[in-house]
């Protein structure tokens, strides 16, 4: 980094970047702020930014009406479960695609991605009937499997691109040194693949957390995650901005916090093979 940067330039960059960053973040900030207002203040004109009577009332109302922890638990189980299951299935597949490529590897990858293009509503009835037959309706594990299948192509794709970056020579060198396949996987490949696997997990937890079609349509009371929680606040009678904001904040906070803490991991891995 030999590029010399004047302080003035740096200040200019900083100002511009912060302005844009805050602009992009503003809708979330505004939602969080509104969740602490009364319904009346939430719609007041001119809008109030900070100097209102901060209240936790909305959170209390939302908690009283719906058992937040139950929805949260379901969301965590479904998002994490489907991702981990997906990783278990995808690692061997991505592995063999990366290290034993054949002529059809690219086609298989593309085909996998294309299964994601099926419009979900078109198959709601078939899947619903299937779920009834299998007794999986309103069942967390049923959703774990469905979301795993939905995200599997993305997981395979991401892992494949990471594994491909691992130089084959290292493996050969290890083999020359007499490493067994088990040792090879355990001590050489795994450590190299961990960052890639980590960011794959993060991205897919986010995608599964936010999936709102299947999680809403295949659940009732027992397995309903936060997407269903939101559906009960979306447009009730009367003023609802503050309560909606509180419910929204509760629904996105866990994933937002997780995302922020693991931001470096996520960013490092989010290349999809875009970087050679």
């Amino acid at each position: 980094m030999a590029r010399t940067v004047t302080t003035r330039q740096k200040a200019l960059n900083t100002t511009l970047a912060w302005a844009i960053g805050l602009l992009i973040f503003f809708p979330i900030l505004w939602t969080i702020l509104t969740s602490f207002k009364t319904e009346g203040q939430a719609i007041s004109d001119p809008p109030i930014f900070l100097f209102f009577d901060w209240t936790l009332e909305n959170y209390a109302i939302v908690q009283e009406r719906s058992d937040y922890l139950r929805f949260l638990t379901n969301s965590v189980i479904i998002a994490v479960g489907s991702t981990l299951l997906g990783i278990v299935v995808a690692v061997p597949a991505a592995w063999s695609m990366a290290f034993v490529p054949s002529k059809r590897t690219k086609d298989i990858l593309m085909w996998m991605l294309s299964t994601k293009m099926l419009p979900a509503v078109g198959v709601l009835y078939p899947i619903y009937l299937l779920f009834i037959k299998l007794g999986l309706l309103d069942n967390r594990w049923g959703l774990v499997v469905v979301l795993m299948l939905i995200n599997l192509p993305i997981i395979v794709w991401m892992l494949y691109t990471y594994f491909k970056e691992i130089p084959g020579e290292i493996l050969e060198a290890a083999r020359m040194d007499g490493a067994t396949l088990r040792e090879e996987i355990l001590y050489i490949l795994t450590p190299m693949a961990v960052p890639g696997i980590a960011s794959t997990i993060l991205l897919n937890v986010i995608l599964a957390w936010n999936e709102a079609f299947w999680t809403l349509n295949l659940t009732a009371a027992k397995a309903a995650p936060l997407t269903a929680f939101i559906a009960s606040y979306s447009s009730p009678e009367g003023l609802f901005y503050a309560k909606l904001s509180a419910a929204s904040t509760m629904a996105i906070a866990p994933i937002l916090i997780m995302g922020w803490f693991s931001q470096k991991q996520l960013v490092r891995g989010l290349t999809f093979g875009a970087v050679k």
Binding site: L124, I132, L137, A220, A221, S234, E237, G238, L239
Partner: protein, 434 residues
């Protein structure tokens, strides 16, 4: 375990019949309206009386419809009780999807249900859903603004008076719109309003041969009148306003008049939510001199899917939630103005309820709506603001989208009607009516 035993003991003490059955957990799907949320809060009373527990699935109306329809038509069994309306009940009942409610207890007194409601929730004389609350539509207006405009609201006004009054009350500088009405797409939103309004203009969905009638003069008059009045005196963006949007406008004092569901009366007169609570008057929905008023009839009702394994417990819940003692329970907790209205005759005979300012007008509105005879000319369908045929919801949503596009000025009324005519006939042909 201990809890169950205790609950069972409690149930034995209160109700010997319940003690015979073991405690069940009921899954109930319902809409996120105020009265239902109140019901959720009072569930403990039901559990204490019967030992059964309840798991609520509370969803926004559109999501709820999509969810329960999928489940019932596939016999999914995800819910033990579903909250449905007057449109779904006769259709589902006819398909044998619902458990008939013909053996409710003596004490429940089925005869006390308002005949208009019981009629709309029955198929072939059998009740398939019990009304939790019922509604018609009526005019809610600001008495102070009406006075300021130098006008007086008759108890049964005409459309031309409403249009005049709306123009007189409008004060754009003060952010007051003379009239707020539903323009939002969706058969249960703007579609319901314009259909009910059309009734008073002599319009109807189908002629006796199930042909669409949007090419007739009556519909053109309805739409032109509606759009003309709303452009003059309605709020900005009325093409996207539904019940909730108008409610919040009215509560904020931005509407002179609002014609909508009678249940809204308790919201706009509640000083906690409404800035205009002490200056609201009520009148019957307008007519046009053709003998039909433009008010609708609707009920949110509780029904049991035929596949349910817990029919007995579910019936106990329905008896609890739609009984007169539930009404008294709400009255004791939240006051008489907040009880679920429009379901029972005895409520309107109750001296405590007579003091509620909107009680009489609600009853009068309900009584003046007749689903069997809603249109000026003879029509082949049952229903006021809908036609109780399975295809209606899909068709009316498409049609109301065309209408909303006309309200927003994206096409002319004539274009909207021509499209509505074509797509309705097309869909009816597909369904084998024509």
């Amino acid at each position: 375990m201990k809890y169950t035993v205790r609950a069972l003991l409690g149930a034995t003490a209160l109700c010997s019949a319940a003690a015979l059955a073991h405690a069940e957990t009921l899954t109930i799907a319902t809409v996120n309206n105020g009265d239902m949320i109140r019901m959720q809060g009072l569930t403990d009373d039901f559990t204490a009386k019967t030992g059964h527990t309840v798991e609520w699935v509370t969803l926004e109306e559109n999501v709820l419809r999509q969810r329960v329809t999928t489940d019932i038509s596939t016999n999914g069994g995800a819910f033990d009780i579903m909250t449905i309306g007057m449109y779904e009940t006769p259709i589902w009942g006819a398909n044998g999807w619902l458990v008939p409610l013909d053996d409710l207890s003596e004490e429940y007194n089925v005869a006390d249900i308002l005949p208009a409601m019981a009629g709309g929730l029955s198929y072939d004389g059998t009740l398939y859903a019990a009304p939790f609350y019922g509604e018609s539509s009526m005019i809610m207006y600001r008495t102070d603004l009406m006075e300021k405009a130098g006008l007086e609201m008759p108890t049964a006004p005409t459309w031309s008076f409403i249009r005049e009054a709306a123009a007189a009350m409008t004060d754009r500088d003060a952010d007051i719109n003379g009239i707020c009405l539903r323009g939002k797409a969706g058969w249960g939103e703007g579609g319901a309003f314009i259909t009910a309004m059309g009734n008073s203009f002599g319009a109807q969905w189908f002629d006796m041969d199930w042909n669409a009638t949007f090419d007739g003069e009556a519909w053109a008059n309805t739409l032109n009148f509606f759009k003309g009045m709303m452009d003059e005196s309605g709020p900005a963006g009325y093409a996207t306003n539904g019940f909730n949007e108008n409610l919040s406008l009215f509560q904020q004092g931005k509407c002179g008049m609002w014609i909508d569901a009678t249940v809204a009366a308790s919201f706009v007169t509640n000083p906690n939510d409404s800035t205009v609570a002490d200056s609201v008057g009520f009148a019957l929905a307008p007519d046009n001199g053709l003998g039909k008023r433009s008010n609708w009839l609707w009920a949110w009702a509780l029904a049991i899917p035929a596949g349910s394994q817990k029919t007995d417990a579910a019936k106990q819940f329905i008896e609890w939630a739609t009984s007169t003692s539930y009404i008294e329970l709400v009255a004791a907790n939240e006051g008489w103005a907040n009880v679920p209205p429009g379901a029972r005759v005895s409520l309107y005979e109750n001296p405590n309820y007579k003091d509620v300012p909107f009680a009489q007008m609600t009853l009068d509105s309900i009584l003046s709506a007749d689903p069997l005879n809603a249109t000026v000319n003879e029509a082949p369908y049952v229903g006021v603001q809908f036609a109780a045929i399975p295809e209606f919801a899909g068709i009316a949503t498409d049609v109301s989208q065309e209408f909303s596009a006309a309200y927003a000025g994206q096409q002319t009324v004539e274009e909207a009607l021509a499209k509505a005519q074509a797509l309705t006939n097309d869909a009816m042909e597909a369904a084998g009516y024509r």
